[in-house]
Amino acid sequence: MVPKRRRDGYCAVMFRFRPATLRAPVLALVLLAAACATPPPADDPEAVAEFRETNDPFEPANRAMFEIHEIADRFVLQPIAEAYRDLLPQPVRDGIRNTLGNLRAPVILANDLLQGNITRARITLGRFMVNSTLGLAGMLDVSRDWGVPGHSEDFGQTLAVWGVGEGFYMFLPLLGPSSPRDLLGQGVDIAMNPLTWLGQGAAVDAAGWVRLGLTVVDTREALIEPIEQVRATSLDPYSTLRSAYRQRRAFEIRNRETPAARVVAPAGVTGFGQGVTAPAGPDARPNPAAAPSR
């Protein structure tokens, strides 16, 4: 075996062959090399610039994860989300989304403060207090009806405000598009969430799982049309999602959500969208001729 070294790649694989002791690490490194994208030849500066800008050094691995996710999504998650939409009337779904969003308020408040945004922190706190009391434990978004809509914050956005770069692109099954910064942010958010630590026992655990399950289904239900749209009209859904995710995150970080778009303080746990808008009504359907599978 010859020592391999790529000087201009993002993942340079360099190892020296030692018999017998290093089979597993060697195999791991070979797999890692296979998961890495091949950078374009150095004599094509525009292609190199584009490769750098895309910042997706693990593209083959990401695409594999994307395929796995698409299968799981089409056969499990999407039918569940559609059944959820069909079975539960809109007011109930509204109530669930509002409650989940309200439960996230402590995390959003903490991140508002960490970003030094006192105005938004006040809004979050006010909404939490009003919606938890007058809004019947968060089921009714009374604050929005009074003209104070919610917004989304998470630790990934806080890190961005603190100057941490996005990092390379990652696609994780079920979680969706992500990046090292955003993944770390989600971890910190879970640790910051008082609900993670509150209480113990079987009932509390069960409530926690129910909350997680509802969050995932609720977020997926909000994304039924956008994802159908992408699947039907995109030449390459993987890169469409990558681009859309990055633009969306940049938009969220800039805190430019317009009040006209009724962002419900989101329960978003998946990378597809931390901020989701109010649920679709009973007549909302994806296009009747559903996207043919490709």
Binding site: A47, T240, Q247, R262, P282
Partner: protein, 210 residues
């Protein structure tokens, strides 16, 4: 050349750089807003017209879109650096396919918007050449959403160059998409053109089914 002459020429040079690029004049905010309002009203009229059936509605919407959007310029932007690597025949084919795809895509989306209403939000001058006009689209039984239209002055009249939905720009996303297809096809235009033809066939099949 002595310093005084150079200093004298500097404002003139600066003035030259400040001139808008050929083909694109500075866009007037009021004109851009009025243009979006007019286009939006036409689209809403076409979509909500009770006298037309679905294919006729799509035709009307397609006609309005062709007029309002700078399809050729957007197509060039989306192709990016690959414009230089394509042959004239390939470029012509690309323009034709791109026109078809974009009109079908957008009219397929808008065609389902029965009962739609839109209202103008604020407008802002993004750059000297672009204006950003914000509209709020309301459909029955769905939350209203915000659509931003980027308007530039092309060939003497305002035209749409981009649609931005909640921070996601359609032409940036499409550029990323086409770049990925080209990159995976080894940079050959024929791969992209083939993918576009397949896409059009799929869209046409969907239209005939619904």
């Amino acid at each position: 050349m002595n310093r005084r002459l150079l200093l004298a020429f500097l404002p003139a040079a600066a003035g030259l750089f400040a001139l808008p690029r050929p083909g694109r004049a500075a866009v007037d905010l009021a004109r851009a807003t009025a243009f979006i309002e007019a286009t939006g009203s036409e689209l809403v009229g076409a979509i909500n017209d009770p006298a037309l059936d679905l294919p006729a509605r799509r035709e009307r919407v397609a006609a309005v879109l062709r007029q309002a959007i700078d399809i050729e310029g957007t197509g060039r932007f989306i192709l990016g650096r690959h414009v230089r690597q394509a042959t004239p025949a390939e470029l012509a084919e690309y323009n034709r396919l791109f026109d078809d795809i974009i009109v079908r895509n957008l009219s397929a989306r808008f065609g389902d918007f029965r009962g739609v209403r839109f209202s103008l939000g604020r407008s802002q001058q993004r750059t000297e050449e672009d204006a950003l006009v914000t509209t709020v689209i309301e459909r029955p039984n769905t939350a209203p959403f915000v659509l931003d239209w980027r308007v530039a002055e092309i060939g003497g009249r305002p035209r749409v160059v981009d649609v931005i939905a909640e921070g996601t720009s359609l032409r940036l996303t499409t550029r990323s998409e086409y770049a990925a297809v080209l990159q995976r096809g080894g940079g050959r235009m024929e791969v992209l053109l083939e993918a576009m033809r397949n896409q059009i066939a799929l869209l046409a099949a969907r239209e005939s089914r619904s």
